[in-house]
Symmetry: C2
């Protein structure tokens, strides 16, 4: 069972009351209505040693920063304003206050930078063998615009991304800047139809937008912005499409809105048009030679045979 299937199964088990839970399972954050127009959003992310970072090479301060930044990226994915975070940890046997202080330094570096204070947590220890895990849960609130969801992409929309993709595992995945400010700036200037952050790779995450919006997509291979750290690869495009942990934003908007947004965008983080939303119901990619192939989550067709 893949994660999306499991998530879909969970979603079907208990339909949520839309007045109390306007956004439920399956988006970057869930939204809870609190009455009188107030609402709050929540996300949770578990990061594991050996999976999301490797303590043999990463410092605990880097891990603390990454764990917060991943949740901040979820706030950005919906163009919401981070409010506060709680951090729960599972410590290997023999860890002491020193390791926690190191982790804390990274957590508060992100917290301070994005005005998202650490307000609580839980410290637990494995009895017997057990590896380090950290779980950040974060609250945000809508800005002046409603949260941008995954399910609003429309046929004819431009597909855009922030920054560049691929090669994140080399360095960026520990040091990335969540696109909180860029997301809020975009929604002030344009009407975005759909957005999410790229955590599992452009092909996988675009598929989520397509699936939830009931649309297809055509990506232009030549337009995909490939990160410096992916250019030395045997197949840089494959790295940019599939590696994940880019923590850039993936969004769709009408061509008219794109034409309004893009010329005025003077942020150092670029916006790039990488394709269009189509009515085909599936994802395709036009390669540099003009050939159109099917684009599957996790790879273009020859990769998954």
């Amino acid at each position: 069972m893949r994660e999306d299937e499991i998530t879909g199964w969970f979603r079907q088990q208990r339909p949520l009351p839309p007045d109390a839970v306007p956004i439920g399972i399956g988006d970057d954050m869930a939204q809870l209505a609190l009455g009188q127009g107030a609402s709050v959003l929540i996300t949770t992310d578990m990061l594991l040693d050996g999976t999301h970072f490797d303590l043999a090479t990463a410092t605990l301060a880097q891990v603390g920063y990454k764990s917060m930044a991943a949740s901040l990226s979820d706030c950005a994915a919906m163009a919401t304003i981070p409010l506060a975070a709680v951090v729960a940890v599972a410590l290997p046997h023999g860890w002491s206050g020193r390791q926690l202080q190191e982790l804390h330094a990274g957590v508060v570096r992100a917290a301070d930078k994005y005005a998202c204070p650490l307000v609580g947590g839980d410290i637990t220890s494995w009895q017997g063998p057990g590896r380090f895990a950290v779980c950040v849960s974060m609250l945000s609130r809508p800005g002046d615009q409603p949260p941008v969801r995954r399910n609003g992409a429309r046929v004819g929309d431009i597909i855009g991304v922030t920054g560049s993709l691929g090669g994140s595992g080399r360095r960026k995945h520990l040091e990335f800047e969540p696109r909180v400010r860029e997301a809020l700036r975009m929604v002030r200037s344009a009407d975005l139809h759909a957005m999410m952050d790229i955590s599992d790779g452009l092909s996988t995450d675009l598929n989520r937008i397509c699936h939830q919006s009931g649309v297809g997509a055509l990506v232009e291979a030549a337009a995909v912005p490939i990160a410096e750290d992916a250019r030395h690869r045997p197949d840089p495009l494959e790295a940019a499409l599939n590696e994940g942990e880019d923590f850039e934003l993936l969004f769709t908007l009408s061509p008219g809105q794109w034409d309004r947004l893009q010329p005025c965008w003077d942020d150092p983080v670029p916006l790039t048009r990488v394709g269009v939303i189509t009515a085909t119901g599936r994802m395709e990619i036009r390669m540099a030679d003009g050939q159109v192939r099917e684009l599957l989550p996790g790879g273009y067709d020859h990769l998954v045979e």
Copy 2:
């Protein structure tokens, strides 16, 4: 470094703005102000295989229930109303949808019972060896009364507990009822000065109330309600004071309020007066023979020599 010392250190690092974060690190939940009188509270709890449950003997449905119930108990500890939960899991290698569905059954059993829907989560898997961990983060909102904190106990207060204590490890820790309704009912009838739930044992948790309130306590050994599952122990009192995971409520209130609350209390979960708050600044226990000894977190004096 003990958990309370670490928590204290964290609290000192970044003073939180009291208008935005009325309740920060160190209580059962943190409270965030959202403007116009609205606020939300948040708690996070990490539960680990081999520490908080044992998958050799507990079912995943029991674990799912317990993980939710522990956070619901935090909502009860402040007399707040549960709103919603998110659940993040770290799965051992080879787990599939079946295990997640079993866990989910326990999560939604608690969610349905306490009207606290599951609204999101995160599913991660260990690469290589790694044991099962589950982290629940839960939101609540204040009822008609402000959240009850740990730091409000006053000299002369009655110390009360719900239910009975000790022996939880035998069965109750997997099946307990969080005291959500009892807490809300108590604050409707009386003005509580301080409250928390008993997760680490009466002696340890009462010490937290004393420390945060700047007071002492005198516990009457003969008054401590000992659970059926602790009565067969060599030292049932010691079990009731120190074992923990009781998930009962520990609270203080003025004698006048106690005299008002207690006679009308017809709930099947009893309230028991176990002692008084004193000006001594330390915890004491009057044994059945009349002797007064020092009560230390985790044991009475002869246990920690």
